[in-house]
């Protein structure tokens, strides 16, 4: 009565190995991306700004920070209008020195984005490491790290950054200020931002540490650093990705704020924040475009990155819960 062997059964869903791209395109993540027009738009905006910033030397009509290319006669040209003296037309107008604002924004975005990414990377590495150690070791190590994090959180990020800048100004000789400023900026933003990563990673680590696959590794004597790196880290990266995206927007804004306050990048290498600071001097004399366009760019960039982060959080969440 025994008919055929059961091997005829699993005919459905053959496990054909597919390429990573095919899997991605078929994945839930991609699907939820495509179904959200705002997200697609945000991604396009971010992509456009990134590409434009990257290719600034190619795209920009002039190098705005090479004094040789500037013509003082072009100063205060209104957007899309011919200059009354030279007859030159600039899309977004010029500033007091006759600098093309479009070019300035492209170059400024470069600095802003560079600082943003670097600061996020620095904060993430620091925060993830401390979070993993705190969550896995527990006990006094955990208490120490998390208390430091608490103290850090009780200061506004901007104050922390200002403090670090103050120390830097006091310690480093003035000759090096301009050169090192950008690194200090990255350090300052990174140090003011690691706490979120540490907290998130710590709580995920606490959850993963008690899962049986980690215990199974402990039973056979896998050393703790290996467990952290190979087993736990890949499983806590989901939430980190979300924080990092939103953190990128925050870092870019923080950089601009610091530059606006005059403690950021030097005017020789201006970022969006520097442009805004310079531009606001002319706001009340009627030259509104000098502050408006860098400001809009910053807004667009930060908003788009934030929207991407929000989508990522929502898209990853049900998967994590499942």
């Amino acid at each position: 009565m025994r008919t055929e062997p059961p091997t005829s059964a699993p005919a459905a869903a053959p496990p054909v190995p597919r390429g990573a791209l095919a899997r991605l395109l078929d994945g839930d993540l991609f699907h939820s991306f495509i179904r959200s027009p705002i997200t697609v738009l945000s991604a396009l905006v971010v992509l456009a700004i990134l590409v434009a910033a990257l290719l600034a030397p190619v795209i920009a009509p002039q190098n705005p920070f090479d004094p040789a290319t500037l013509n003082l006669m072009d100063g205060f040209t209104r957007p899309m209008q011919a200059n009354e003296f030279t007859g030159n037309v600039y899309w977004l107008g010029t500033d007091a020195q006759g600098r093309d604002l479009f070019s300035a924004i492209l170059y400024g975005s470069r600095v802003s984005i560079l600082v943003g990414f670097a600061a996020v990377a620095f904060a993430a590495v620091l925060g993830i490491t401390l979070g993993l150690v705190a969550g896995y070791r527990g006990g006094w190590v955990d208490s120490l790290i998390m208390r430091v994090a608490d103290v850090q959180l009780s200061f506004p990020a901007i104050l922390v950054a200002l403090l670090i800048f103050g120390v830097f100004k006091g310690v480093v000789p003035p000759a090096l200020h301009d050169k090192a400023a950008i690194y200090v900026l990255i350090l300052a933003i990174g140090l003011s931002d690691w706490v979120q990563y540490a907290r998130t990673v710590r709580s995920s680590t606490l959850a993963e540490r008690n899962k049986e696959y980690v215990q199974a590794a402990r039973v056979i004597g896998v050393p703790a650093p290996t467990i952290l790196l190979r087993h736990i880290l890949p499983n806590v990266m989901g939430p980190v990705l979300v924080i990092a995206t939103i953190g990128l927007a925050l870092a870019i804004i923080l950089e601009s704020t610091l530059s606006f306050l005059g403690v950021g990048v030097p005017p020789t290498q201006p970022s969006l924040g520097t442009l805004i600071r310079v531009g606001q001097d002319y706001l009340f004399s009627g030259e509104w475009w000098i502050v408006l366009f860098p400001g809009l760019t910053l807004l667009l960039l930060a908003l788009s990155v934030n929207l991407l982060g929000d989508w990522l959080r929502d898209a990853l969440n049900p998967r994590l819960r499942r």
Partner: protein, 342 residues
């Protein structure tokens, strides 16, 4: 297609309290529509305990959710009907369903903590439920709440009525949930794995309590569980589900003693029992198919030792098989069996 004479074995005859007819539940997804329940039919008579048993993913909890109108979107009833006392309730509006819920059909969930609001005392929750559904004065409701807590075996109910859920142990909490389910005197209680989260010694007490109370209050129960032991001790009749269908239904004693469907037979043989010392347990090889990969014909055929050609093509309906009814071609009347198969 002949009119399905579904389940003539309900106690007493007359109109069944709950009648589920050819219920179909779908989950539309972007990879196609998943058929989670297909052609599910059964009756529950007044005061009867129907056990619904199956492995995880068989659709047993979904059946309960569909009856009480709590299908999680995007799940939807795509066909068939649910009749409560002859009245179609699957088409009721959200508001009408809400009035029905708790009043005529109550629900008991697996985890007692999630069915109780941690911010209110158990007394407040009982009184509120009663005031919503019954015409009682608050004082009378509290009086009734006390009596109910006493009835479900809470010691010193006069003090415990003012305690919060977290002050009760797991078993006591489930007793409170049972009191909550009973407090509006519903006609039907749907109990979804009511004992799964509890310790074995507490399980036994809760089952005994549920059985006793429902008998006293003449409440019908649909007992959803994966545990055949719970069914054997509590239910009058049992429906065995597999891959979204009822594969066997009949009186508990018969199904336990002489299961007809090969799946039920395997299921019963797989349970280790104390009496006999066997070297090996009966095992059904493989696993239940996923909803997106339900094989054609009888969904059980790839795991069935008795499967023959017809099983791979045609899906069997419930048909008389000894003292029970089984959805299996083995029990097809000879004149219906095309070519005999074997």
């Amino acid at each position: 297609m002949n009119v399905p004479h579904i389940d003539q074995m309900n106690a007493g005859g007359g109109l069944p309290l709950l009648s589920v007819r050819r219920l179909r539940v779908e989950f539309p997804s972007r990879r196609g529509t998943l058929l989670a329940l297909d052609d599910v039919s059964f009756d529950i008579a007044r005061g009867e305990v129907l056990g619904v048993v199956g492995e995880s993913g068989a659709g047993k909890s979904l059946t309960g959710a569909a009856i009480i109108g709590l299908l999680e979107p995007p799940g939807r009833i795509a066909g068939g009907e649910i009749l409560l006392d002859g009245e179609a309730i699957h088409e009721l509006s959200g508001e009408a369903m809400r009035r029905l819920r708790g009043r005529r059909i109550a629900m008991i969930f697996q985890d007692p903590l999630t069915s109780l609001n941690p911010l209110y005392t158990v007394g407040e929750q009982l009184v509120e439920t009663m005031l919503t559904h019954l015409e009682l004065t608050p004082a009378a409701a509290r009086e009734r709440a006390l009596a109910l807590l006493d009835e479900v075996g809470i010691p010193a109910p006069a003090q415990r009525i003012d305690h919060y859920p977290h002050q009760f142990s797991g078993g006591m909490r489930q007793r409170v949930v049972i009191a909550l389910a009973l407090c509006a005197e519903p006609e039907l209680i749907i109990a979804d794995e009511p004992t799964t989260a509890l310790d074995v010694s507490v399980q036994a007490q809760i089952i005994a309590l549920l059985r006793r109370l429902c008998r006293q209050h003449h409440t019908a129960v649909m007992l959803v569980t994966h545990d055949m032991g719970v069914i054997a001790e509590t239910a009058d009749r049992v429906a065995v589900m597999y891959a979204g269908r009822v594969v066997e239904i009949g009186p508990v004693d018969e199904v336990v003693r002489a299961p007809a469907h090969p799946y039920t037979r395997g299921l019963m043989g797989a349970i280790p029992v104390l009496g006999d010392e066997v070297e090996r347990l009966v095992q059904i090889d493989g696993a239940m198919p996923r909803l997106d990969a339900i094989p054609p014909g009888c969904a059980f055929h790839p795991r069935c030792a008795a499967a023959f050609a017809r099983c791979r093509i045609e899906c069997p309906e419930l048909q008389p098989a000894g003292a029970t009814r089984a959805a299996c071609w083995l029990y097809a009347p000879a004149e219906m069996a095309e070519g005999g198969g074997r």
